[in-house]
């Protein structure tokens, strides 16, 4: 916007007011509406979470957060995210690489399929895994023979979390790869680089901010996922409850302050994620922009002599 405005303002038409600028009253109305909505639906709830959490004092807050069941929920959430995120990092980057570098039939179908976990309800996703791995599911008898418990156990939670968060890295990396094209990769290929060398030395540096961005979003979703995990967890306290499930249990038992205290942990994760996301977006923009500052010093030798 500012670029357009300054361009129009500096043009020969001598417009005093940039063409795209709204009238003052309308502008304030729009800004007011936007900020009002933001405050009502985003900031007030966030404030309520922290206020309610601290209602019974810091001591109650500390007790709720350090309760063994809460600690177990935190551990399980960290475990699930700790497994799901690296898996989706590998799957996502591989899928994005495949989809952006190769043309094959079924390619667009595969791109659509990546979004599947987003388009089905998380509850349905959870039920699918119950039908697959539950006691009466397809693989139920086999798992029973092997004495492996998936549903109502940690593996089920990890699988559900991985499924739900799959599109986040893949989507992000795919769009970055498509935007950057593959000219540099082709150049590296003609220079004799192997596939791995190209990936490590050319592609990875190009996509690293996109990957990090995807990982941050993936992690946030993995820690906050409720629906699918709720279906496969079985809500066994201290064993198969993640932070969101634990919040629900506390809330259902009328421990409001404790519920909000644990919920405030999720809110903190969210705020931290947003800040991190902003920082990564800023970093990646900076890495894409031409180094404007150093360009000025370069211009001097470029003008004179044999330089073209």
């Amino acid at each position: 916007m500012s670029g357009i405005v300054s361009y129009l303002g500096g043009g020969p038409a001598r417009v005093d007011r940039p063409a795209l600028e709204e009238r003052r009253g309308l502008r304030w109305l729009l800004i007011g509406l936007g900020l009002g909505f933001l405050g009502l639906f985003l900031l007030v709830p966030l404030a309520v979470v922290f206020l309610t959490a601290l209602r019974d004092g810091l001591g109650a807050y500390a007790r709720a957060v350090s309760d063994p069941e809460t600690l177990s929920a935190i551990r399980l959430t960290l475990t699930a995210a700790g497994i799901a995120v690296p898996l989706n990092l590998v799957f996502g980057v591989t899928a994005a690489w495949l989809l952006s570098k190769y043309e094959f039939s079924g390619r667009s179908l595969l791109i659509t399929l990546i979004d599947l976990p987003f388009s089905v309800s998380p509850v349905v996703a959870g039920l699918v895994f119950v039908l697959l791995f539950g006691a009466r599911g397809w693989f139920g008898p086999l798992l029973e023979q092997l004495d492996v418990k998936v549903i109502f156990a940690v593996p089920g939670i990890v699988i559900a979390t991985t499924f739900i968060t799959f599109p986040l890295v893949a989507r992000e990396v795919l769009s970055v790869m498509q935007a950057q094209g593959s000219d540099e990769e082709e150049a590296a290929l003609t220079l004799g680089a192997s596939g791995w060398q190209i990936f490590r030395r050319i592609t990875l540096p190009k996509i690293k901010w996109g990957v990090l961005y995807g990982v941050i979003l993936c992690n946030a979703r993995a820690m906050g996922e409720f629906g699918a995990v709720s279906v496969v967890s079985g809500h066994i306290r201290g064993e198969t409850t993640t932070i969101p499930l634990h919040v629900e249990i506390l809330y259902g038992e009328y421990h409001f302050a404790a519920a909000f205290a644990v919920a405030s942990l999720l809110a903190l994760i969210a705020v931290f994620t947003l800040l991190l996301k902003q920082w990564v977006a800023w970093q990646s923009r900076r890495s894409l922009e031409p180094r404007a500052a150093s360009r000025a010093t370069v211009a001097a030798p470029a003008v004179g002599g044999a330089a073209i």
């Binding site: 150049a187 003609t190 680089a193």
Partner: protein
């Protein structure tokens, strides 16, 4: 022959519905620059990428230095490829860019440093080692891309519209620089370009393509002087194609007083290629009334030029009245659009001083004198 392409075809799309190149064969002599010239969509870039191995042909073979490389992967073909948009590694310094091809082959560090030094000197960018590509101008980037391609000592250098993204002045400077660099290195080079001037000036051999097929191949003079079709004539030198017929052993072109001897049978359709530079205009004084001169008189007959085809006759210049519809001064020369009596338009390019001496202005009636016109039997040819 350094590069030989034999019957190569490539189609694109999931249903193979888009023709890239269609059964193309050509060869490029060693140590020379060969241009693949053609309008956009003619398949010239596809052909270059097939030689590099960046595309897999549907049919046909590619040979480099007598060795069939059709099924050799890109990285083992030892070709240097320069892209239109440079494709420099943005996150690497100039030094690392040029060194890339050597470092992936695990060449010793000292050898890499020496070679990069020499290449940067060759492209006249010594002292720029620590810069990032973003800190260079377009022309500098393209020279780094060239140095990078030369670093691995390629058997063939493949340039895909290397100057296409640069502004006109830099393009001309780089063209001269490339020419002198080639005189130092003598690397066999294939140059893809849509710019006929670039092709004629830089290369010893030109392959002219259109619609995925070769229209004509040969030296720049051969193509310029003996175009094999109206497409070649109009693409090279912007010739206007006039169609006429043979009457009593002379080819005549409607109301324009242009005629030529022809040994074709009376009534044969013929076409003439008239280049803008080969037309001279003379102002008709407003007072004088010029009677239309019959083609046989007034115009001096020139001796038959040696043309490749026996059935071709050499041109005879003729003079005829026309009027100047538009006149644009472009630096040292003037571009004019002249309307012929029959309504045909002819582009004319004359030195500025001639136009000024003769006082020709827009709307003037002028006498037309055509030199070096090429007459050939008309081929039903669809461009």
């Amino acid at each position: 022959m350094s590069v030989r392409v034999e019957g190569i075809s490539k189609r694109f799309g999931l249903r193979k519905e888009v023709v890239g190149v269609d059964h193309v064969s050509f060869s490029a002599p060693e140590h020379c620059i060969t241009s693949l010239l053609g309008p956009s969509g003619s398949g010239k870039s596809t052909l270059l990428r097939l030689v590099a191995g960046l595309e897999v042909p549907d049919a046909g073979t590619v040979e480099i230095l007598g060795q069939d490389v059709t099924s050799t992967p890109v990285r083992e073909r030892r070709v240097g490829f320069v892209f239109q948009n440079y494709a420099l590694f943005r996150h690497m310094t100039v030094f690392d860019n040029v060194a890339f091809g050597l470092s992936v082959r695990r060449a010793p560090k000292s050898e890499i440093a020496g070679r990069v030094d020499r290449l940067l000197a060759l492209v006249q960018l010594s002292g720029y080692e620590r810069r990032l590509p973003d800190q260079l101008s377009g022309g500098q980037r393209q020279r780094i891309a060239l140095a990078r391609a030369l670093a691995t000592d390629p058997r063939v250098l493949l340039l895909d519209e290397p100057f296409g993204a640069l502004d006109a002045r830099v393009r001309v400077e780089l063209r001269e620089w490339l020419r002198s660099m080639h005189e130092q290195t003598h690397v066999t080079t294939l140059l893809v370009t849509h710019d006929q001037e670039e092709a004629l000036e830089l290369s010893e051999h030109v392959v002219l393509l259109s619609n995925g097929q070769i229209q004509q191949a040969g030296t720049p003079s051969e193509l310029y002087e003996n175009p094999s079709s109206s497409f070649v004539a109009s693409f090279l030198g912007g010739a206007k194609v006039l169609t006429g017929s043979v009457e009593q052993g002379r080819a005549s072109f409607g109301t324009i007083g242009l005629s030529a001897f022809s040994d074709l049978a009376d009534g044969s359709r013929v076409e003439a290629f008239v280049r803008p530079q080969d037309v001279r205009l003379e102002k008709v004084p407003a007072s004088s009334l010029v009677e239309p001169a019959s083609p046989s008189e007034g115009a001096p007959a020139t001796p038959p030029a040696d043309s490749g085809s026996a059935s071709l006759a050499s041109a005879v210049s003729g003079a005829r009245e026309a009027w100047v519809e538009r006149l644009v001064k472009v630096g040292s020369y003037v571009k004019l659009s002249v309307v012929l009596p029959g309504g045909d338009r002819l582009s004319v390019q004359m030195p500025r001083h001639e136009v000024e001496e003769r006082g020709i202005a827009q709307g003037d009636r002028v006498l037309l004198e055509v030199r070096h016109v090429k007459v050939s039997p008309a081929i039903d040819y669809v461009i």
